[in-house]
């Protein structure tokens, strides 16, 4: 009956490789020949991703039947090292196939969306190759079963993220943001490299299937390696203390934010942690949970005070990634992965809706420009929005559904996954708390509860600011009231991804029972791998939902009639200042890292100056010495030589005039000599 599924394991591996390499082909074609193609080749990138998506669906269903494709080839063989030291290995199992599906689907939707969103933008040619190569790197990262190869793709993913954040490279902010993202990821990558080195010296291989066998009992070094990987994931998945790069990364194009900085790349950390759970000891897991709990609360609060439409979503992403960290840390990776899965869709939906709103604002700007009213307002500032409910009805519906999913209301996908995580966190706190006789562990579920409340609050605030009330741009530019600017029509390329993502934000695709995460096919299938406890108490669920509803109610009460004015800064309270500036984390980092760095550099230059002076002095001494030596050489030694030569020249000068070259003189000498000889001869004879 399942004849369309791939049953041969080799074919499974080949298909997954094809899935990963198709976007790479698209990248190569577009990068080197994109300018020649019609429409700059965007259709080519989208169709390649489309094929990848179809393949990934087939792979997904094949794998979900219970198959696992593993392939491993030797990469480098060195004398004295075992055969499995350097391998290139691919593993297609439930974990990787669902990630592939997520990445391909969202990448496809983002490609389609971008064809409309990025139309006519600067550097359109360059945009799609970047997206393709990102998809390739992400798929490679997912498929690889070798930590070294994973690390390479990890870097590649970070690099493409850097390229896309700085896509509008004429904007200074974007360039700075891309550099910041890259540098903060570097800190995390340091942890990855350390972990790789430790694992190499412990096990002599990077291949996960061999590592699994060779790491038995948790030792200090294994814990350290685990912490290294956690640091890498903290960097990539934007957790405290390295999360400050993600809000700035919103300078990239909005579809990119949806794909990379909400749905896929930032989830790579969670995925990696889930893959290496076998080597994460109890201490490491506790660290992960604590980091996640800190992050989710720390980033949920600033989200309340952002005015940039995308920054709210960015902080919300960080917060949700914190939930996933807690899920991993609580020892229930399937809950974390489930949240990753659902979050990818509803957060991409939110970002793409936000993109549609921004697109609309941009269009107004264009129309105004053509009508002669130039006004360079910030198209992402929520203080200029409002009342968009009637203007963008579809976007409104999608946004509401996705936001409700994010808040965790029942009947939606976010509810299922969030409940699973909070339930797991509560169970974990109970177990660890009683084992260690400490209530510190209860801070983690507490943080989850509080964050659930604030999530509802900031999403309500954003919803009200975007879609309800008056269209505040009209207060800013009164001309708009009279002008007709309702000739906006939603392109199918924009609405289709929105509808798809909206559909994936409700409970039906994930579970038939909207109230029980345990009954979700996804969790059940993954539970066969991780085999963790999935019995969650109902009290937790009720509390969370009650808190979410309370958050919504509070949000409606607080923000319903609030008048927001963009130009005039109302007198800012201390809390607003603190949270609006993201806890002054940037400032703290500046004072902790940058200022001492500069100071160190300053003192180093001072020391350098002293060293320079010393070197100068030595050089001067050398010069003086060499002058003396040169004088000695020239006058004494050369003089002696010249004296010898002079003597020789003097002696030769005495005789050289004989050789005058005149034959007659020679003859005269000869004659004289002969006469002398004759004279002597006769004298001698007598």
């Amino acid at each position: 009956m399942n004849s369309y599924l791939i049953t041969d394991l080799d074919n499974l591996v080949y298909c997954s490789l094809a899935t990963a390499l198709l976007p790479f082909c698209a990248f190569l074609i577009l990068f080197f020949g994109g300018k020649q193609l019609p429409r700059k080749g965007d259709w080519l990138a989208a169709s390649f991703i489309g094929i990848s998506f179809v393949l990934s669906v087939v792979i997904f269903f094949s794998v979900w039947e219970g198959r696992t494709g593993v392939a491993s080839i030797r990469w480098i063989s060195l004398a004295g090292l075992p055969d499995n030291a350097f391998t290139i290995s691919v593993r297609v199992d439930k974990l990787s196939s669902f990630m592939m599906l997520t990445v391909c689907l969202i990448s496809l939707l983002v490609h389609l969306y971008s064809m409309e969103y990025m139309k006519g933008k600067l550097n359109y040619t360059r945009y799609f190759p970047y997206l393709s190569v990102f998809t390739f790197a992400m798929l490679g990262l997912i498929l690889s079963d070798n930590l070294l190869i994973t690390f390479m793709f990890w870097e590649l993913v970070g690099f493409t993220s850097y390229l896309l954040i700085g896509f509008w490279f004429t904007k200074e902010v974007a360039v700075k943001a891309s550099k910041k993202a890259f540098l903060f990821n570097r800190i995390g990558d340091l942890g990855f490299i350390l972990a790789l080195m430790i694992l190499w010296s412990l096990a002599g291989t990077f291949d996960l299937q061999f590592l699994k066998g060779s790491i038995e009992e948790p030792s200090f070094w294994v814990t350290l390696a685990g912490l290294g990987i956690v640091l890498a994931c903290i960097g990539k998945s934007a957790q405290f203390p390295l999360y400050v790069w993600l809000p700035d990364a919103m300078e990239g194009p909005t579809p990119v934010s949806a794909l990379i900085h909400a749905a896929t790349m930032v989830a790579a950390g969670i995925y990696l942690l889930a893959k290496v759970t076998f080597m994460l000891g109890e201490d490491v897991l506790t660290t992960i949970a604590m980091v996640g709990a800190t992050t989710m609360l720390m980033s949920a609060l600033p989200a309340l005070f952002q005015n940039d439409i995308k920054k709210v979503l960015a902080y919300s992403t960080i917060s949700q990634l914190g939930y996933m960290f807690v899920g991993i840390g609580a020892g229930v990776p399937e809950a974390a992965l489930f949240h990753l899965f659902t979050h990818a869709f509803f957060k991409a939906g939110l970002f793409l809706s936000a993109g549609a709103v921004i697109h609309y604002m941009h269009e107004i700007k264009h129309v105004l420009f053509h009508e002669g009213v130039y006004n360079d307002f910030d198209a992402q500032d929520m203080r200029f929005m409002g009342g968009l409910k009637t203007k963008l009805p579809l976007v409104f519906i999608v946004f509401v559904v996705c936001a409700a999913s994010l808040v965790g209301l029942p009947l939606l996908s976010g509810f299922l996954s969030k409940e699973a995580i909070i339930g797991a966190a509560y169970n974990w706190a109970e177990a660890s708390g009683s084992a260690h006789n400490s209530i510190v562990y209860y801070l983690v579920p507490l943080s989850c509860f509080i964050t659930a409340f604030f999530t509802a609050l900031y999403m309500t605030r954003q919803l009200i600011m975007l879609f309800f009330g008056d269209f505040r741009l009209e207060n800013h530019i009164p001309y708009l009231r009279t002008a007709k600017h309702d000739h906006h029509h939603q392109s199918l390329l924009i609405s289709l991804p929105l509808v798809v993502l909206c559909g994936l934000s409700v409970f039906i695709p994930f579970s038939w029972n909207p109230f029980s995460p345990q009954s979700s096919w996804f969790i059940q299938a993954l539970n066969q791998i991780f085999e963790s406890n999935l019995e969650f108490s109902h009290g937790v669920t009720y509390t969370t939902v009650a808190l979410a509803l309370a958050g919504i109610a509070a949000g409606v009460l607080m923000y319903r009639n609030k008048v927001v004015v963009a130009e005039k800064e109302e007198k800012v309270s201390y809390v607003t200042e603190l949270l609006g500036k993201n806890w002054y984390l940037e400032k703290i980092y500046y004072h902790i890292m940058v200022v001492p760095g500069f100071r160190l550099a300053f003192y180093t230059t001072k020391i350098d100056f002293v060293i320079d002076k010393l070197l100068d002095g030595i050089a001067v001494v050398y010069v003086v010495l060499s002058h003396i030596v040169a004088w000695f050489d020239k006058s004494v030694i050369d003089g002696l030589v010249r004296l010898v030569a002079g003597i020789a020249a003097f002696i030769s000068g005495l005789f050289k005039n004989i050789q005058s070259g005149r034959v007659q003189q020679y003859f005269a000498y000869t004659l004289a000599t002969v006469l002398l000889l004759i004279y002597l001869f006769f004298n001698w004879m007598n």
């Binding site: 050289k656 004989i658 050789q659 005058s660 070259g661 005149r662 034959v663 007659q664 020679y666 003859f667 005269a668 004659l671």
Partner: protein, 100 residues
């Protein structure tokens, strides 16, 4: 009969003249002529002593000397011609290639 001493005096005079010419004259041809003169002086001596000894071989030798002198003059002139070709002069003071 003229005594042999006169011939010898003439020959010595000629020989001295040849040496003088060879040393003093700047022109290479003149110097060659000096050499010829010396040769002839020697010839006279040969003839004189052959006459004194009443033997013919001295005079025979003179014939050979004259023949060789002819060849030598030819070679000498040919050399001079080549020298002139190369140096564009026959002034012996200017041909000082042998100067060390």
């Amino acid at each position: 009969m003229i005594p042999s001493t006169h011939f010898l005096i003439v020959a010595a005079f000629l020989f001295a003249m040849g040496i003088m010419i060879l040393i003093v004259k700047r022109n290479a041809i003149a110097a060659l002529m000096g050499i010829e003169l010396m040769l002839n002086a020697v010839n006279i001596n040969l003839v004189v002593f052959s006459n004194l000894n009443r033997q013919i071989d001295g005079q025979m030798f003179v014939i050979f000397v004259i023949v060789v002198a002819v060849a030598e003059a030819a070679v000498g002139l040919a050399l001079l011609l080549q020298v002139y070709k190369n140096y564009r002069t026959s002034d012996l003071d200017k041909i000082t290639k042998l100067k060390g």
